[in-house]
């Protein structure tokens, strides 16, 4: 059963018709007494639906925030004695089809970023295929480079969704003010060991078309990271975890990270908490 979409032009047309007919009736009302028999009163039109509330509320917006990674990483990178932290947050506000997405990542002393690197993204997302949202928007990235803070803005186009075999996919292309193009791909998957003990596999890679020294990225493959995090869902929304990540950068990126005093090949243990609300 297919009911038609509302047709604005039809409504406008109908209004005109009703107005003209109405004016005609009013102007004629006094002139011509009705000849119709009053025996059968006309069926009163049903009341207008427009004044009434909707019977169901299927367009409500929701706010979802997922702090997938919020973790402490004990010393073990290039700089002995320095512990550091990392986070990865994303979320959305909106309905089933249109959403405003926000994302933030922060990292320090990884194989990819020697000093701290924080980014924030604000995106418009649209449900475009059965399992995917396409996202478009902007990203701001701040990093420390040779003791100074450097910041850049980037445009973002990406896709996020669930691929066959239940892997969460997040893929994005970035272009900064200088026209430098880079990309990021991440895949995560949950393996249920028990109903509450979940092993999350996490794979991430970064790529760049050009060398951008200030942001310690070389051209080509920047890094590959693979992590496993074992969490216990005390509640669905609150799950402490432990795990490790194997992270390695390549080529020019590795050289730049090394120059900055970082270690381009790391195995790090992590402990943190996964939250959502």
């Amino acid at each position: 059963m297919r009911t038609g979409r509302p047709r604005p032009w039809a409504a406008v047309l109908a209004c005109f018709v009703v107005c003209f007919v109405g004016i005609g009736l009013v102007s004629d009302a006094g002139a011509q007494p009705s000849t119709e028999s009053p025996v059968l009163p006309p069926i009163p039109p049903p009341p207008l639906l427009t004044n009434w509330p909707s019977p169901v509320h299927d367009q409500r917006p929701y706010l979802f925030t997922l702090i997938d990674v919020l973790e402490y990483r004990p010393a073990g990178g290039a700089r002995p004695g320095r512990d550091d932290y990392r986070w990865d947050i994303d979320g959305w506000y909106g309905g089933d089809h249109h959403r405003l997405w926000f994302k933030s990542e922060g990292q320090q002393d990884t194989a990819f970023k020697a000093d701290y690197d924080v980014d924030f993204q604000l995106l418009y997302g649209r449900f475009i295929a059965k399992y995917y949202d396409v996202q478009i928007g902007s990203r701001v990235e701040t990093q420390q480079f040779r003791g100074r803070n450097v910041t850049r803005g980037l445009g973002v186009i990406g896709i996020q969704g669930l691929v066959p075999y239940n892997y969460e996919l997040e893929a994005a292309l970035f272009i900064d003010q200088g026209g430098h193009v880079s990309g990021r791909l991440s895949l995560t998957k949950d393996f249920l060991l028990t109903q509450r003990l979940v092993l999350q596999g996490r794979f991430e890679t970064n790529l760049a078309a050009q060398r951008v020294e200030r942001f310690t990225t070389g051209a080509g493959l920047n890094n590959l990271e693979f992590g496993l995090r074992l969490r216990y869902e005390i509640r669905r929304e609150f799950a402490p975890y432990v795990g490790f990540s194997v992270d390695r950068s390549f080529g020019e990126t590795a050289a730049l990270v090394r120059e900055e005093g970082g270690n381009p090949s790391q195995i790090r243990f992590v402990a943190g908490v996964r939250l959502w609300f």
Binding site: M1, P53, S54, P55, D58, H97, F127, L162
Partner: protein
């Protein structure tokens, strides 16, 4: 107020005597025990609720007051929306042929409504905000007035937001003018429902964000090891990977489970143990009402058979079963004959096996029956996908790749239909898209019907490549049992229809949804995307064909008019107000469109309805009846 005119003595006098005995303790407490203020709830322990029934109201003028109160179940305090102060609300006992005026006063801070489920009445009195009236604003009173034109067991509930999940429902019994062809000594309402301390909005939000939020029976590594032992490593792996590949969960039987719900019988939790009394040898009638917002119940009384005599308030030819499945909003009247002087458990297990409601039938107060062993949660199979191995075998495409990717492969094969060999009678059927088709073909038969090319867009996760009738099946989770389980094919009306009128027109509606994103719709469009009423013609004979493209059962409810379930019973098709449509099922009902006005047609899983699995049908033409 005698329950049954056919019974001269027995039931009422005994229950009255009991009530008199307990006039102080039970008589008063019984009416309020299911709803106690938070402070009192803590102080008073659950009392055995012997023979308690919701307090009854009858007559031509009934006043109902809607309030919000705290409600304590098993020590957990939540907020309930109550009718005259209780959960469930009072039993309304009407008489066929009478007029009734029911004044509903809203003392909530939000609008409310009451829908009289299964009752034939003028559409303005049907109680669906936005369809039949504007709703009942806070602080106001709405007077429902309608003639009572039928008899049987029904119920009533809020049709506003999540109020039904918050306890706003009650039983409605209409005594027939003619004596009933049912003999019973005892007559009990057994109203099943689900209750959560979580707010309905919160539950829906959780599901929108993480659709598997309430499922704590998913398949895990532990299950995999067990399955690998049982089936062999590779077959088990193949099976697990197939479900993962499809992004579906074979353990998905309920969106909201026992992890968040308490299942109630007459407002009492399993520890509250509602009790109905009997003398051995008596015929006990249970009026089973599934008033749950989110739960299918499998009901049985171990040690006894149940003879089903009414379905959805309508007499049916007696059929004796050991277990029956009830979708939300369905009702069944069953007769039991306990012969032994012992307690029997009335056991209503949630379809996903995550919990149960229970009560006791006992010869004396204070007894409690044994709980039957719990069953493992079932698993979805290829049957529920609309792509059975059997079908693939018959189609000559049982290859390995198809096993893994059959659904998508089938979908990509595009238009065209494929009549399956071995099913005579309908060797040529048109493709079934979603359009309204004019058809004079007979009802849905046993054949497998291939899905049309329309995959219903973004809002629909998958399609049932082949849908077929499943009214002869008891349903997933009940199909492995030795027990005699009620199937829809068993339901035959008691007296034949005067004449069978073949439907002139067919409307096919696909039940669609997306489990990952928690979207629910008809034909891939939620209500806000298809708000225009489906036009029906007064006095036409209509066939509604429901095709379930999802992997969940949906109880579909048509307001205002009977659906005659086309279950092969010829002139004995049963009349239903709510029909369960199983996954990958193609089920049809015949409707005589005799009630002018606008009526709701929706899935009676409250959250599915609220997510958009809802339509309005509009019956134009003919004279509108005024309110009464």
């Amino acid at each position: 107020m005698p329950f049954n005119k056919n019974v001269p003595d027995g039931a009422d006098s005994i229950s009255r005597r009991l009530l008199l005995k307990r006039i102080g303790a039970l008589g008063v407490l019984a009416t309020i025990q299911s709803l106690l203020p938070a402070c009192a709830g803590r102080a008073i322990h659950p009392i055995p609720s012997v023979g308690t029934q919701p307090s009854a109201l009858s007559g031509e003028l009934i006043d109902l007051v809607i309030n919000e109160r705290s409600f304590t179940v098993d020590g957990q305090i939540g907020t309930a929306v109550t009718i005259n102060g209780t959960v469930p609300g009072p039993l309304l006992r009407l008489r066929e042929g009478q007029q009734v005026a029911i004044r509903v006063t809203n003392h909530l801070r939000e609008p409310t409504s009451i829908h009289w489920h299964g009752i034939l009445l003028p559409f303005e009195m049907d109680g669906v905000p936005g369809v039949s009236f504007a709703g009942i604003e806070p602080g106001t009173t709405f007077s429902y007035r309608f003639p009572v034109k039928q008899s049987g067991t029904y119920w009533y509930h809020s049709h506003s937001g999540g109020q039904e999940l918050q306890g706003m429902y009650g039983p409605l019994i209409i005594e027939p003018q003619e004596p009933e062809p049912i003999r019973n000594d005892r007559d009990y309402v057994v109203l099943l429902s689900d209750w959560s301390v979580e707010e309905p909005d919160r539950i829906l939000a959780n599901l929108k964000k993480v659709s598997g939020y309430y499922n704590f029976q998913k398949r895990t590594a532990v299950d995999f090891v067990a399955d690998a032992r049982r089936m062999g490593f590779w077959p088990a792996l193949e099976d697990y990977l197939m479900w993962d590949w499809m992004r579906m969960d074979p353990t998905d039987f309920a969106d909201v489970t026992g992890s968040a719900l308490v299942y109630l019988m007459n407002g009492l939790s399993p520890t509250g143990n509602w009790t109905g009394l009997f003398h051995p040898g008596e015929a006990v009638r249970l009026r089973l009402i599934n008033a749950a917002a989110a739960t299918f119940f499998d009901v049985r009384v171990p040690g006894l058979t149940m003879t089903v005599v009414q379905a959805d308030g309508q007499h049916v030819q007696p059929v004796t079963v050991e277990e029956l499945r009830m979708g939300p909003a369905e009702t069944y009247d069953v007769i039991l004959r306990p012969e032994e002087d012992r307690a029997y458990t009335v056991f209503a297990e949630a379809m996903d096996r995550s919990g149960y409601a229970r009560g006791t039938l006992a010869p004396r107060p204070g007894m409690s029956g044994d709980l039957p062993p719990r069953r493992p949660r079932p698993l979805r199979t290829m049957d529920d996908m609309g792509m059975g191995m059997e079908a693939m075998g018959r189609m000559g495409m049982g290859g390995h790749e198809h096993k893994q990717s059959g659904v998508i492969q089938g979908r990509q094969q595009g238009p065209g239909h494929l009549p399956l060999p071995g099913h005579a009678g309908h060797d040529h059927r048109p493709d079934h898209g979603t359009a309204t088709t004019e058809s004079t073909a007979s009802g849905v038969g046993m054949e497998w019907v291939r899905h049309g090319p329309d995959d219903h867009g973004l809002g629909n996760q998958m399609i049932a490549e082949y849908a077929r009738s499943r009214w002869m099946e008891p349903g997933t989770g009940l199909d492995q049992t030795e027990r005699r389980v009620l199937v829809y094919a068993d339901l035959k009306r008691l007296t034949p229809m005067d004449e069978w009128r073949e439907p002139e027109r067919t409307i096919e509606l696909h039940l669609t949804g997306h489990m990952v994103r928690y979207l629910w719709s008809f034909d891939g469009k939620k209500y806000s995307e298809a708000p225009d009423p489906i036009p029906l013609r007064k006095d036409e004979r209509l066939r509604l064909v429901f095709v379930n493209d999802t992997m969940m059962e949906h109880p579909i409810h048509l307001h205002g008019m009977w659906m005659e379930l086309e279950n092969g019973a010829g002139k004995f098709l049963p009349r239903k107000h709510t029909v369960i449509v199983k996954p990958a099922e193609r089920l049809s009902v015949a409707v005589t469109v005799d009630a002018p006005g606008r009526w709701a047609l929706h899935c009676h899983l409250l959250l599915h309805m609220e997510a958009g699995m809802f339509r309005v049908v509009e019956v134009a033409g003919g004279e509108r009846h005024g309110p009464s």
